[in-house]
């Protein structure tokens, strides 16, 4: 039953032989380093504040920059949602300071909530922060392959965020056409939409630079002995995610340029002929197609879903292996699944477009691919569940969040199946069911996993532990109230309540039986906000007052970021001695010897291993 990768199979010994090659190269590399030694010493003096914290090229500092900025945006996007929920629970009610929400303001909040959460919150946190900080440490690299590009990537992200924020203050406010920016509405929107497009171009540029950097780093800078199948699953998840970002974002950039041309040059790529608005017929050449935008948008935005979920799966896999104290079940199966999933995610986009009248043949194709792509997701999730079996589970705070992720992502995935099939999608399309579905994937799914990552790697970054009790309060509050917010959405959606309604469906008779859920959801949302307070306190309080970690390998982990670096790691260079890797990623409770875990960088015991290699040769 157990398919745990162990270090003593003949295949592995073959790998060990193969690894002699990079080792040969070491002298060469050292010679290079010597040539630069004189430059080296000059740079060891104290760096100024700006160089150290703002224009830093150290992947760890950039990771922290990403993390803090993204957490801020997550909080901001969450606040927008709270205002919307206030309005939905009691339409037209006066909100302190802001007054009653106008429909225009509600639409701005809706569009910007989605944009901020996806492009400025979760992706930067999952990829920019965790990827940047952890990936080089886990593969034994001293930094990313292109440190200055890495810095540029953060700055593009930051300015993209600033442009998006500034768009609230231009005449008639921010974008109101939803995070999907569907034309023709988005083409004839007010100035905020132009700002949105400029902001997106900056955010896309940031992602592209990041993706190039991640892929190059993972391919080129793995430590000696870190073969692809010895990479922790988190690295694999980031690797595939980077490919998705690299190849899926450019078509959206193309679409963004076309929409900018529509708005600024007066072209009509997305404007059909004969369009009439409230101000009379539009004076444009016409002949364009709103559907073209949808195709280009979803060609990005479906892989984007996996950009949101794969790093989360990676984090959960790390934490589950570490806290069950046994190898991941089916590590290789999970890796193959994640590769297949990355590939398939490029050919499922039109399942967002079943009601556009594409025709049954095309619908059939995309239904099939959509059902196929659910298979690798299920394999990964099942492998994570099976990994729990027979483990001696430590219920640490990160583990609680990781365990919370599993069923929540399960609900998110399963509620997606009816949306992947045209016959059931057509009645559910554009209802609250869709909102419930993808929020289950992203909020109680991905965000719980991201919290798990914060609790898991916080001691690595700061050298201090986070408070356990506050963490547990945060976990249970988040888990319960997230369900309180999102589960009723599924019920409302099945009753037919449309999304994006300013009054939450008050004026429709069919929504009457389910309308009262709005208050319940809004109360849950505000309690969810309350449940974040322990996290915020914990996060800042532990920086100064948290218990200092007693040893570098705080969680008794096998992966390099814990076993081979000091805690926190050395600025600029990470390692005191660059490690070599001799083992599979998760050698917990190995059957041989009385050891509880063996880190990846621990050399094999001298006599036995060398003999077998010689015998092999």
């Amino acid at each position: 039953m157990e398919e745990s990768p162990q270090g003593s199979t003949p295949q592995d010994q073959h790998q060990t032989n193969g690894e002699q090659q990079p080792l040969d190269e070491a002298p060469e590399a050292h010679a290079v380093e010597h040539a630069h030694d004189d430059h080296h010493h000059d740079h060891h003096h104290e760096e100024g504040f700006w160089r150290k914290y703002w224009f830093s090229t150290d992947h760890k500092v950039i990771g922290i920059q990403y993390g803090i900025t993204a957490l801020f945006f997550l909080f901001f996007g969450f606040c927008l949602m709270l205002l919307m929920r206030w309005q939905l629970a009691s339409p037209g009610a006066t909100i302190p300071i802001l007054g009653a929400l106008t429909p225009e303001l509600y639409n701005q909040f809706g569009a910007m909530h989605g944009t901020i959460m996806v492009f400025m919150g979760i992706v930067p946190l999952a990829v920019g922060a965790f990827g940047n900080y952890v990936v080089p440490l886990q593969i034994g690299a001293i930094d990313m392959a292109f440190p200055r590009l890495n810095m540029a990537s953060y700055h593009f992200f930051f300015w993209g965020g600033i442009v998006m924020m500034a768009s609230f203050f231009v005449p008639e406010g921010a974008a109101k056409a939803g995070w999907t920016s569907y034309p023709p509405l988005a083409d004839i929107e007010t100035m905020g939409q132009t700002m949105w497009l400029f902001g997106m171009v900056l955010l896309i540029t940031s992602s592209l630079l990041g993706a190039i950097n991640f892929i190059t780093t993972i391919i080129q800078l793995r430590a000696d002995g870190m073969t692809f199948f010895r990479m922790p699953f988190f690295v694999w998840a980031q690797f595939i995610t980077a490919f998705l970002l690299l190849l899926a974002f450019p078509p959206l950039e193309a679409a963004g340029f076309l929409q900018l041309a529509d708005r600024l040059l007066g072209t009509s790529f997305f404007l059909p002929s004969g369009l009439v608005t409230a101000d009379g017929p539009l004076e444009v050449a016409g002949g364009g197609s709103p559907l073209l935008w949808q195709h280009l948008f979803w060609f990005l935005a479906h892989p984007e879903v996996y950009v949101l979920i794969l790093p989360a799966m990676g984090i959960v896999a790390e934490i589950i292996a570490n806290n069950t104290r046994k190898p991941l079940w089916g590590y290789k199966l999970m890796v193959y699944s994640v590769i297949f999933l990355g590939f398939m995610s490029f050919i499922v986009w039109a399942h967002h477009m079943f009601i556009t009248g594409m025709g049954t043949a095309i619908s059939a194709f995309f239904q099939v691919t959509t059902m196929i792509i659910s298979i690798p997701s299920v394999i990964i999730l099942s492998a994570l569940f099976i990994s729990l079996w027979g483990g001696s589970i430590r219920f640490t705070v990160p583990m609680l969040f990781a365990l919370g992720f599993l069923p929540m992502f399960g609900i998110g995935g399963l509620t997606g199946l009816p949306l992947g099939l045209a016959p059931t999608d057509i009645p559910l399309h554009d209802t609250y069911y869709v909102i419930g579905h993808f929020h289950y994937v992203v909020a109680p799914g991905t965000i719980l996993a991201l919290f798990a990552g914060v609790y898991y790697w916080y001691p690595k970054v700061t050298g201090r532990e986070m408070n356990d009790l506050l963490g547990k309060i945060h976990f249970w509050g988040s888990l319960i109230f997230m369900n309180g917010v999102f589960f009723p959405m599924l019920i409302q959606g099945m009753a037919g309540v449309s999304r994006r309604l300013f009054d939450g469906g008050l004026t429709y008779s069919f929504s009457e039986p389910v309308f009262h859920y709005n208050s319940f959801m809004s109360i849950s949302a505000f309690l969810l906000a309350v449940a974040q307070i322990p996290f915020i306190i914990n996060f800042f309080w532990s920086l100064k007052k948290g218990k200092k970690v007693e040893k570098d390998n705080h969680w008794d982990a096998t992966t390099l970021e814990w076993s081979a670096t000091p805690t926190p790691p050395v600025p600029h260079g990470n390692f005191i001695h660059v490690p070599s890797v001799y083992r599979d990623p998760y050698e917990y409770s190995p059957p041989t010897g009385g050891r509880e875990f063996i880190p990846q960088d621990e050399p094999p015991p001298k006599e036995t291993e060398t003999e077998t290699i010689e015998a092999d040769a």
């Binding site: 080129q220 190849l247 072209t267 600029h572």
Partner: protein, 214 residues
């Protein structure tokens, strides 16, 4: 830089490439997707169009039947020649560095930059004559596609000029004041810049028939 990142210049043995070369190929892959998206949009829009180019021949009252009645094929052909020539000089500049002939490098790189400017000047005349006939991106879908696709390509050419001009001017310090390792690094940079330049050239090779001839 504070750190010496491994495989900046020397290829990693098991992958066979250095970092920059892998990075530029990945970047070009994303560029393929960018222009792929634009070409796909072109196909999508043209399939939905009633007529293509769907406009009068300039200065006449007859409907154009082919794109070459609206656009100037001779100028575009000239531009194609210019870009291909610039790709050749780009390779020559890199080869000169390999042969340790820095003067020739300056010459060929300078030519590459001049040819690129030549391309943009011809492009400016083309655009100018369109504007002179009151033909703008907003006029119709054909011109919208023409201006936006060639415009994005021209932005890429401009980017190439900036990069190449840096390597022709201030960037040469790495070669003139550097040791052998720095020289190898500089040669590598020119190769990478060349890969980008050839890609820009290649995009034009696709754009020319697609927009002017088909």
């Amino acid at each position: 830089m504070d750190l010496q990142i491994p495989y900046e210049v020397i290829p990693r043995r098991d992958t066979g490439v250095n970092n920059a070369k892998l990075g530029i190929w990945l970047f070009l892959a994303s560029e393929v997707m960018l222009f792929g998206g634009l070409f796909a949009a072109y196909i999508f829009l043209r399939m939905g169009a009633e007529a293509w180019p769907g406009m009068m021949i300039p200065d006449t009252t007859t409907m154009a039947e082919r794109a070459d009645q609206v656009l100037s094929v001779p100028l575009a052909t000239l531009n194609t020649m210019i870009l291909i020539a610039s790709s050749v000089t780009m390779v020559m500049s890199w080869a000169s560095l390999k042969l340790n002939d820095f003067k020739k490098y300056k010459l060929y790189m300078g030519l590459t930059i001049l040819l690129a400017f030549g391309f943009l000047i011809v492009k400016a005349f083309e655009y100018g004559s369109k504007f002179g006939h009151d033909l703008f991106p907003s006029t119709n879908m054909f011109l919208a596609v023409y201006f936006v696709l060639t415009g994005l390509h021209a932005i890429h050419v401009t980017g190439g000029i900036i990069v190449n001009a840096y390597f022709w001017g201030p960037g040469t310090k790495m070669w003139t004041q550097g040791n052998d390792h720095d020289k190898a690094h500089f040669t590598n940079r020119i190769e990478v810049a060349g890969l980008y330049w050839h890609f820009v050239d290649l995009v034009w090779i696709f754009l020319f028939p697609t927009i002017y001839l088909l």
